[in-house]
Each structure stands twice: as structure tokens, then as C-alpha cells.
Symmetry: C2
Subunit: 284 residues, 2 copies
């Protein structure tokens, strides 16, 4: 199958490597945001664009019958995006896999599996330590901040604190900046610590991880305990998930199961290269 990449930031560059290493996928080109989409000749396109640009690019490509994959990550808007892209995909006989990263994405699959194994119970998703994109952008927007990096620190039971490393603008008052930061909507409800640094060069911006825990009952029996955790290079994993989901998108299109899907709606086998029989013998 032929897969193209739209957008060439951290995710787009990692996706290029993932495609080059995939035994069953041919790279159908790398396109920039402002390229003419009519020149794209691919079975599917990975939308490695900012999240807010996903919907319009996806619609334009689906209308041409080309499948799309994105890692749209605004949790509250995922269902609406799915409904919006589903209509276009069905009309034009294409498939869109949305929110295909690690959270939303593979963590969502873990949460769904955990719920099916332990229907009565509680799940905690603990992120990090790792950089939060949203919080970093919010910190950078505070007056007096020249550069910033917001780390998410897991405190357990789904609670997180924020460590915000800040390079101040010349003449900025650290106390004032800290007060503004802690009052910001992104930080107001979490324990937040601001640390002034000379430079952010020594920080890892791609290191991340998650620890998902579920405790509860299966068949009415208590004390069932499930855990999923990972330590990862963030863009490398996100891009890999997108490439695996592109495979599923093209296969669903071949089976005429047109529409828009989140990862919990995909059979895991559809994400993998190779023969069905061999995969079942190897994995089941």
C-alpha cells in the first residue's frame, strides 16, 4: 500500500522512518501544509499537522476517496470529529482513523480492554514524567516568559503536578511571572512549581511515559489488578501508531467498511503487517 505524509515536523519525520521500515508500505511522498492536495497519489495520508487543522485536511482528502489517519488529541471533541468525518468518508467510500496516537490511541485500547476484563472498578491514567504540549504552550504565553517547558509529573491515582521550567525575559520579575502562571487555567487546579533556568537545552522534550492501573472485580471477584506502562520517545511512538492505523484504514476500505473509526473500534490484527494465519499462530 502507498502512504503519504502531510506535515513534516517531529511526527512527520518519525512517520517517514516508520514507513521506510514497514515491509508492506511504500512512501508516496511527503507534503507540506500548503502543498496542493490534488497532486497526492496515495491509498492513505498521515495528517502530521497541528490538531486544529486535522478536520479540514481530512475532509479534503476523504472527498477524493483517500483514507486518512490523524492523532487529533482534544479529548472532548473526538466524538464530534468522528461523526463529521464519518459522513464524508461514507459518502466517498473511504476510511478515516482518528485520534491514533498513544493518548488518545493505544492508551484508549488499554482502557477498553481493562474495562472488559474488570467491569466493576476504577482506572487511573498516570502520565509522565514528560513534556505536556498544551501546558508548555500556555506557559510560553505568560508575559515575561521567553521560553518554557512544562513537565507532567505523576503523583499517582491519576493526579499530576506540573514542573514548569522557565527562561525569563530580561527584566521580568520571577515572582510576578509565577503568580500569573499559577493563576492560568491550565495550571490553577494542579500543584505547580516554577523553576527559573538559563536555558532549556539540557531538557529532553521527547521523553514520555504512562502508567495505567485498574483495580476491581471480574465475575464479581474482587482484587483483580491490571497495569499497563511504557517509557517512550513520544513522536516516534505517535508516528508508529499512525502508520499501523493507516494499514487498518486501507484494509477496512478494501472490505468496504467505510467510515471513521477510533482505535477502540479496530481489530488489533488489522494494525499489523503480514498474513492473518501467521499472525494468529504467532500471537494468539
Amino acid at each position: 500500500m502507498k502512504i503519504a505524509i502531510l506535515g513534516y515536523g517531529n511526527i512527520g519525520r518519525a512517520a517517514e522512518q516508520a514507513i521506510l521500515l514497514a515491509p508492506d508500505i511504500e512512501l508516496a511522498g511527503v507534503y507540506h501544509h500548503n502543498d496542493n492536495l490534488d497532486t497526492i497519489d496515495a491509498d492513505a495520508v498521515l495528517l502530521c499537522t497541528p490538531t486544529r487543522e486535522v478536520e479540514s485536511f481530512a475532509k479534503a482528502l476523504l472527498q477524493k476517496g483517500i483514507c486518512t489517519v490523524d492523532s487529533f488529541d482534544i479529548h472532548q471533541q473526538i466524538y464530534d470529529l468522528r461523526q463529521s468525518l464519518k459522513a464524508v468518508a461514507e459518502e466517498h467510500k473511504a476510511v478515516s482513523v482518528i485520534s491514533a496516537g498513544w493518548d488518545p490511541g493505544s492508551d484508549s485500547v488499554a482502557r477498553a480492554m481493562f474495562l472488559s476484563l474488570v467491569p466493576q472498578g476504577v482506572t487511573y491514567t498516570n502520565f509522565g514524567p514528560g513534556r505536556s504540549m498544551g501546558h508548555t504552550v500556555a506557559a510560553k504565553a505568560i508575559p515575561g516568559v521567553k521560553d518554557a517547558l512544562s513537565m507532567t509529573i505523576p503523583m499517582g491515582k491519576g493526579v499530576h503536578s506540573r514542573e514548569v521550567y522557565v527562561v525569563l525575559e530580561e527584566g521580568a520579575d520571577a515572582k510576578e511571572v509565577e503568580a500569573l502562571l499559577k493563576a492560568d487555567a491550565y495550571f490553577a487546579s494542579d500543584e505547580t512549581k516554577m523553576i527559573v533556568v538559563e536555558s532549556l537545552d539540557s531538557f529532553c522534550t521527547v521523553c514520555h511515559g504512562v502508567h495505567l492501573v485498574r483495580d476491581g472485580e471480574s465475575s464479581g471477584v474482587a482484587n483483580q489488578h491490571l497495569e499497563f506502562s511504557m517509557r517512550i520517545n513520544n513522536p516516534a511512538l505517535t508516528a508508529q501508531v499512525m502508520v499501523s492505523c493507516a494499514r487498518a484504514a486501507v484494509r477496512l476500505q478494501q472490505k468496504q467498511q467505510y467510515g471513521a473509526y477510533t482505535m477502540i473500534e479496530l481489530p488489533p490484527i488489522a494494525l499489523l503487517p503480514g498474513d492473518e494465519e501467521q499472525l494468529i499462530r504467532q500471537l494468539v
Copy 2:
């Protein structure tokens, strides 16, 4: 949906509880192995029978258009069972979900997801500590053994040792029994320790667990590290997985996607009760 149970051992009894706790499932009866299958009125039947009886019961029920779920666990024969039941299910417009336990079963899903996230790497499945059914049966068959329980002890990197707790028959020679045990095909290739005890009453036969680890590369970037682990009551989890998969079987039948499926071929959302929109909003 109406789900019946065939077989009333550890798994059958746990499945009864799981069904009673499921908001969307009605218990359509509990049947014994030698009951007349013609009296069963259900959308799906959970085959809580010995593994070797699964195929004939499944075929008999599928031929009546009734879906089946089993936890068939002889790894080498799973693909052949799937092919055999697929033909019958397709002919009679039914769905069979096979090998729906935790390994094979939910562990298979974890292995498939891990492979899709980290395509280059190595996965280790570490079982236990917990009782191995197969090894326990083999130990009980050794001359001089009155009763036995074989524990699987994880040594890391997919290697396991065996601790075999044995109640000797009167007059049996412990050294002779140990030599026979260690020569048995089930134990010959693992480090095996035999421990003579007066009684097995103080051992937990339902406690079990697993620790799955994958290390490797995503998008060509190394040192991606994934883990899945659980500590569980074994029959309670197995039965719960079967009940969740019965839900998927009936839904696939409603969608006319007849055939036989392993768990890696099922969308995780199909295992869960409730409305699709609500599940996507909650989990993704």
C-alpha cells in the same frame, strides 16, 4: 441478549456471576455436558467445558445458528480450530469467538498491540506465580503421586521454573518420584523443584498473574519499553473474558459478519456493554 452456560465447573460458576452482574445480558440457563442441546434457547453459549470437548459442542451449537464462545487453550491448535468452526459458523449464519481467556485471549491482544507499537523488538511473556493446569495433571499422573500442584514461577525473559508440591502415596520413594517427575516431557526442559507436603489444602489454586514486556524500536527509534501485568483470580478472569466476548459474538452476528474469530480480530469496543457514543467519549 440471552447467554447460556454449558459446563458448571470453576469457569461455569464464575461465568454465572459475570452474567448476573452484566447490565445487558440475561442468563439463559446453565447446562451440563450431557444435557440435550436442543433445549437451549440462547443467542450465545459459553463453552465452559474441558478444552478437548470444545470443538464438537461448538459445531453442534453453531449448526443451530447459536453463537459460541470458548477458552480453548492448546496454542498450537488454535488456528485449525478457527478454520474448522469458521466454515460451520458461516454456513449457519453464526459467530464463534475462540480462545477467549487470558492466555490465549487478552494477553494475545496485548502482544498484538505491543507489536503494532514497537514493530522491531522482542516480547517476553512471563507467567505466574500460579498453578499450571497442564503441569499439575502431568505431575498427578506420575506413579507414587497421590496428589500434586505444579506452580509456574517466572524467572524473567520468558523463562519459567516449576515448583511441584506433591503428596506421596503411602510407601512411595520420594527420590524415585522426583526422578520420574524431572524426566517427564512437561518438566524435562525447565528447572524443576519437587517439594513433598502432607496436604495441598493451604495452597491457592486460583491465584495467577502475568507480566508481558516488549523492548524495541518505534519509527526506528530504540529503547521503547512497554509492560503489561496483572494479578488475578484465574477462573474469575477467564469467565469474565468469555462473557465480554459473547457480547462481541452476538453483535457480529447482528452485523452479519459470520465466522470464527480470535480476540485479536475483535474491536475492543465490541466487548463492552452500553452505547457506542458514550464508550468513545469515556474511553478514547
